[in-house]
């Protein structure tokens, strides 16, 4: 193998030498090292990485984050290399960088999320003007395949966690059964289908675009074709939340994400209910008798007020209404989802996003 000259601006340790750029060569190279996610990758050549960095290519060594458990230093170039591997279109990097900064910031519990046995994956929720500008799917099938922006941004997150954070399955990622959402997990808020203020606006964030990263499980389906009142509809969500198998039943105080489809949101809004009404209703209705919880769990993780509850008392599945995180996504049809989170609140971070032409 004849080694070509080193590209300018790189140290030797920043580059890997391959015999060729054939897709199978690249996949085998990564597979042998326990890198990648098992699926085909785009070779992060210096040319492609430079193009991914675009106007920011003059600052490739800016540090975006240090990610546990490996304590990998994520520079702009490292983020861009993983974005190329994931198949991100050029231009998406500033959004990915915003996600990386949240992952490595002090508010997000990545030291818990990466190594846990729980099936949690960081969900990226894209809000606002960048949804249309970059072609994110907020409509039909928004959690599913078919949108390059959703698919590759979510995949770039996972590849970066595997590579820089060391979250390789069985090593830095000890999830007992893993999770399909660990391949890619990115969705967009359906703003036109939201009968209320947007999700970031409900948190006081009024920038044109924003990003949420939430440590949650996969979406759990909530099916309702019949209801014409908020109460009847939301009782089904409450039933889905009040499950003994969810971590949030074992230690009361988790965030619980509710991904409403637009038709369910419209049914709720038609009853003149706002987001806060939904939060309070679920807080009141998603409950289990104290005796049931005491039988199922060790009580040492409970707050003192709960330990003193009488057997017949109905215990809420989280300790405050605002822990229900309500946003709208998806298209036609009447299927919504509950997304239980990983640990005691807060499990999510929402930040303004200053990118693109908006």
């Amino acid at each position: 193998m004849v080694t070509p000259p080193l590209p300018s601006g790189y140290r030797v340790s920043e580059l890997l030498e391959l015999p060729d750029l054939d897709g199978e060569t690249l996949l085998a190279f990564f597979d042998e090292r326990g890198w990648g996610d098992g699926l085909p990758l785009i070779a992060p050549t210096p040319t492609r990485v430079e193009a991914m960095m675009g106007p920011l290519a003059s600052k490739p060594n800016d540090v975006l984050a240090v990610l546990p458990l490996r304590r990998g230093i994520v520079t702009r170039r490292i983020a861009a290399a993983n974005a190329v591997l994931a198949g991100c279109p050029n231009g998406l990097l500033p959004i990915f960088e915003a996600v990386v900064r949240i992952l490595g910031g002090g508010k997000f519990n990545l030291s818990g999320v990466n190594p846990t046995t729980h099936p949690v994956a960081p969900l990226v929720i894209v809000h606002g003007a960048v949804v249309a500008e970059f072609g994110f799917n907020a409509g039909l099938g928004s959690f599913g395949p078919g949108s390059r922006a959703n698919a590759t941004l979510g995949r770039a997150v996972r590849l970066l966690l595997i590579h820089a954070a060391g979250a390789r399955p069985g090593v830095g990622d000890r999830s007992t059964q893993g999770q399909p959402a660990k391949y890619t997990y990115c969705v967009a808020e359906n703003q036109s289908g939201t009968p209320w203020e947007t999700y970031p606006a409900s948190l006081g964030i009024t920038s044109p675009s924003a990003i949420t990263v939430a440590a949650v499980e996969n979406p759990h389906n909530v099916h309702d074709m019949e209801s014409d009142t908020p109460e009847r509809l939301l009782d089904k969500f409450a039933s889905s939340v009040a499950s003994l198998g969810s971590n949030h039943a074992s230690a009361i105080g988790y965030e619980i994400f509710i991904a409403l489809c637009p038709e369910h949101a419209a049914t709720i809004a038609a009853g003149k209910w706002g987001r806060v009404d939904v939060q309070w209703y679920l807080y009141e209705r998603a409950r289990l008798p104290a005796a049931v919880l005491k039988e199922a769990f060790h009580s040492r993780m409970w707050p003192r007020w709960l330990r003193r509850a009488a057997d017949g008392d109905l215990i809420p599945m989280t300790d405050r209404p605002e822990n229900y995180k309500i946003f709208v996504t998806g298209g036609e049809g009447k299927h919504s989802a509950v997304l239980p989170s990983f640990s005691l609140a807060p499990s999510s971070v929402t930040e303004p996003l200053e990118v693109g032409g908006v």
Partner: protein, 175 residues
């Protein structure tokens, strides 16, 4: 001719710390017990604490339980432990996030000058070691018991607790 791609792993942020100075013996010292709230951790820790106290002449002066295993020890609980204990026994790391945050807690107590012995299960020993090394602790005092801890009967837990007493004690004193 071969070709180059950009290494997607990046450099590692290295730190280096030493553990706190160890006493020659535990006689007369105060043992603090930090239960990470995992199922059956308390039973293991109670056994270990009582056995070490009886064997060495130390006393178990303070025992507390974290509100969740998947987050750091809360600041007030941490500060109170510093006041009330000379050495600390903690555990049990029997899953990913609880092991990771227990190691972080261990590092914080060691930095504050308190020797720690952390109980983990054999399945999670490598992870505990890797996390400790990533934080700059290359000789983390781990006491290893067999996996699992959850779902066991009280007598099985007592057996496991008694079996690691020497290892826990060894992690707290000068070698």
């Amino acid at each position: 001719m071969s070709t180059f791609i950009v290494n997607p792993l990046g450099d590692v942020s290295l730190e280096s710390h030493g553990v706190a100075p160890r006493p020659r013996s535990l006689a007369g010292l105060r043992i603090g017990v930090l239960d990470n709230s995992k199922a059956n951790a308390r039973q293991i820790l109670v056994t270990v604490g009582a056995e070490i106290a009886a064997k060495t002449g130390a006393i178990v002066s303070h025992a507390v339980c974290k509100p969740t295993a998947s987050r750091p020890c809360p600041e007030p609980m941490f500060e109170e432990m510093l006041v009330k204990a000379d050495v600390i026994v903690m555990g049990v790391g029997d899953c990913g996030s609880c092991t990771t945050w227990s190691v972080h807690d261990m590092a914080a107590f060691e930095d504050a000058g308190r020797p720690v012995s952390l109980i983990v299960t054999d399945v999670f020993k490598d992870m505990a070691t890797a996390v400790a090394e990533s934080l700059g602790y290359h000789d983390a005092p781990l006491a290893v018991t067999s996996h699992p801890i959850g779902g066991l009967a009280r007598d099985e837990l007592e057996v496991k607790g008694v079996a690691i007493v020497a290892e826990v004690e060894a992690g707290l004193v000068a070698r």
